[in-house]
Symmetry: C2
Subunit: 218 residues, 2 copies
């Protein structure tokens, strides 16, 4: 059985929770707290020198990092990574888009809003992060004008959708107005209607309070 | 035959030049200039709404973006993407590491040094980019203490090595001192010794001049 090391409020971690549920795959879950420094301990760094979550561990101790690489490994041979070589490459392209053009803006803006103090100097980054995050959301909206999904060249639900859902569905917590993207909103609902979908667990109240205060201060 | 749209001084583009050479794969090359805005024209954005290079195009007009997804597609079934499912997932993990933890620091620092004026306000980002870029280079150095390569779980040369080579081999142009990483320097030489290796073409003199001036000013 695999062990998942994850921080449940993280969109990157939530991707794994969703796919594991949809595959019906048994696993152990070790909850870690990134904000508390659990990924920077010597024990964790010995397993993952880049000090990031999520990570999975096999029973023999071998580990695999990077949320989208873990999705790829879990989904191999399943309907969640389907299509011919070209379609699978399109799935990969959206996952690289997610990690390069989407997550560093959408996820980081949310982190700053809900996981840093209201007087954090990092809040000066928010306008730029929102500008670039909106560019990424607009690219997704354009794709959805001619495709129902992001996986398999747009042909079906799969790991590219899961990867992009991770932070898009909580983007409002980073100050993004998803109502500007009606097709994206419809796609979020289609993802939530998939068999085996699980919502992100509720997290500590302090984060919701910071997110609410961030909205008032903008 | 595929068409490659690339900007030769870009490490992301250079990955494709290397693999195409090593696979001996025929292709057309369309040189574009990112700095001149060639990826922001309506024609280019119609092919790739995210406005990035490199990109490949099939004869029927279908396109694929994201350098590491293109490597994945080109290498499928070849020795450059070898191993069992777990080993291939490790290859993918290093490619996601490259795009998330390495490129946004190492490549962006180099871009600022060689492609922006000496009085650009973006130069204020350099200390932070170098701090984070050195963290990524240190993670690579740690891996190389027990593995010769990054692909296939460390078992052989392949697309994860090509992906990481793209910007690592020109990291000194962004102000990184690679001599701090002796295993990384040895690995760069091993990559350069691979059959079919091609060096990055020489680029416009203005960039070398800016890079030299950047070194003097730090």
């Amino acid at each position: 059985m695999i062990t998942v090391y994850g921080y449940s409020p993280s969109g990157n971690t939530h991707k794994l929770r969703m796919l594991l549920s949809q595959l019906g795959r048994e696993h152990r879950w070790v909850e870690i707290d990134i904000a508390r420094g659990d990924t920077r301990t010597p024990e964790y760094l010995a397993k993952n020198p880049n000090g990031k979550a999520p990570m999975i561990e096999l029973e023999d101790g071998r580990t695999l990092a990077e949320s989208d690489a873990i999705l790829y490994w879990l989904a191999e041979g399943s309907a969640y990574f389907a299509g011919d070589a070209w379609q699978r490459a399109q799935t990969m392209a959206w996952m690289f888009f997610e990690q390069y053009s989407h997550e560093p803006c959408v996820a980081v803006a949310r982190f700053i809003c809900g996981w840093t103090p209201l007087d954090s100097p990092r809040r000066a980054d928010l306008p730029r992060l929102r500008e670039r995050g909106n560019q990424a959301l607009a690219v997704m909206e354009t794709h959805l004008s001619s495709h129902a999904w992001f996986s398999g060249g747009g042909s079906g639900y799969g790991i590219a959708d899961i990867a992009l859902f991770g932070y898009t569905h909580v983007a409002d917590e980073g100050g993004f107005d998803l109502q500007r993207y009606p097709r994206l909103c419809d796609w979020l609902e289609r993802v939530k209607a998939q068999p085996g979908y699980v919502p992100m667990p509720r997290y500590a109240e302090e984060h919701y309070a910071l997110i609410a205060a961030s909205k008032e201060s903008t």
